[in-house]
Subunit: 230 residues, 3 copies
């Protein structure tokens, strides 16, 4: 049973890494990186989150112990570098990235729980596994990582839901394969809804105030209005 | 005695993390991050330096083993995100950040010395504990970290003084609670003086030359002067 | 023999770190960092790649266990901060940086192989040792790291050649001092050729298309042409 589970999990892991690596490679070519820059971003996106988690758990990072984890981002980098990205490829990548987000938020949390983490830090590590690669990519590409910005659809919250559901099931003694799949599916569904409906968190109180001030100035009768209150 | 010391140190640790996390959260809302981006920056600021130190010392990172260390930045993020930051909050945060700087430069050095580091690397790790979070924040926020820039008041030097004093006391066999408190107070005092008096390091020889060239051109009689010599 | 080898390798290591640290310090003064910012970038450039490799291999990072590794970047930072960089210093730094690139791509791979890495991850770690410091510097300086950009001469490929040659020799059972020196020399030669001849990787398919579209528009007869197709 365990070997069957591993036989299913390993290809899924590689598929998830491939999805993340595609996202990283797409960002790299958009920024006009050379091939090796594209490869570095694909590796960072595909394995960065898991690498951080393994370092924190004092485990040998799978990204540097398993050859498959090294090679899959290479394939993604070659595909994106050589084939001009089309809208279909970008849409497919976004969808697969959402699937990988759900999966890694669960597997990252499970790995942390298995190695003795208490629930809250395990959830933090599950979220990090899911979003860490995107953070690393954004930083290397000289951008504010999309997962942090207010004007981007929810990304961290779906990962948090997946990781939190996993930790809750584990605390209730009900974490099995079916439960893990449900938690991942929940995260995936939330991410897809966020993409389709443009869901975001409420804006900070500071920027709500900026927006109100700018709006008041723009409707003030007969006065010079400034568009920037920052 | 030891349990009393721990009973005092743990709340102080959390207070210091809270101060750093406030700084990180303030930067995040200034950059219009969403709530989870603000939370990530608060966590990075509050625990980033200690996390790096623990990884280098091959210790389980307290940021992921102690629930308090996870939760305190969450509180800071909620406060800053929900309550519009006022000048008083920002000033109070700057002052508390200076206190945390002094404290962590000492406790970081002590932890490194206790785990077998020689004095110079221990000082490096003490400084990293104190400034690492700010570095991580600046990078995630897409800015050059303030601690690196010439046009910002001294930040690394107070940490270096606190860490260096700690290592010196330890080498002299005189490192006790009173000595540690004095070293932290020295770092805090130096940081406050830097803030009040605008203390900075001298500028690099390269930029001193740029400034001289620009000044000479601006005073040249009857010639077109360029304001940029870079 | 082994002690003789160590007696040769240690000064070479320090020389390589000094070369990388000079590059980091030059970037820092160009960005108008203060002295401690320059020192931080020199340390990041000089020891960053090796630090990452040692963390992945679960080894005590030499950057924090050997005082020489701490002090050498300090010397580089002082030199660059106090002495206005001349064209000769910058050229000499670029050349020494190429030598360090070759050397560390080999020694990093050797260290990974000695600690049980399989060939492909060992090559990845060798490349990381050689380019990791430059990546860290670029990120801290708020720039896209030069090693990633298309408009910069080859940097990762020479490191990859050096690391790959080392792993290949090791797999063939022929990795000795002479072989290691040849692999490093090959990487150095490739980097120097890239610098002299402006060698770069081919551009991504996406940007080749952008360039073709822009060129077609600029030669279209009698039409308004836009210079930007991005």
């Amino acid at each position: 049973m365990n070997s069957l589970l591993t036989a299913v999990l390993y290809p899924l892991d590689l598929a998830g890494i491939f999805a993340f690596a595609l996202s990283g490679a797409l960002l790299a070519v958009r920024k006009d990186f050379d091939f090796f820059g594209t490869l570095l971003l694909a590796e960072a996106a595909g394995t960065g989150g898991g690498l951080f988690r393994d370092l924190v758990l004092s485990l040998p990072p799978v990204a540097f112990t398993d050859t498959g984890y090294c090679l899959v981002p290479l394939v993604a980098a070659v595909v994106v570098f050589v084939v001009r990205p089309t809208r279909h490829l970008i849409s497919a990548t976004t969808l697969c990235d959402a699937g990988a987000l759900g999966m890694f938020s669960v597997t990252g949390t499970v790995k942390a729980l298995e190695h003795g983490s208490s629930p809250l830090p395990a959830v933090a590590l599950g979220v990090t596994t899911a979003v860490g690669g995107g953070l690393a990519c954004g930083v290397l590409a000289g951008e504010i990582p999309a997962v942090l910005r207010w004007d981007q659809d929810l990304y961290v919250l779906p990962a948090l839901v997946g990781a939190g559901a996993t930790a809750a099931l584990d605390a209730a003694g009900r974490l099995d394969v079916a439960g893990a799949v449900c938690a991942a599916a929940l995260a995936l569904a939330l991410r897809i809804c966020a993409l389709l409906r443009g869901w975001r968190t409420p804006r900070s109180a500071l920027w709500k105030r900026y927006a109100q001030t700018a709006e008041a100035r723009s409707t003030a009768p007969g006065h010079w209005t400034s568009t920037s209150s920052h």
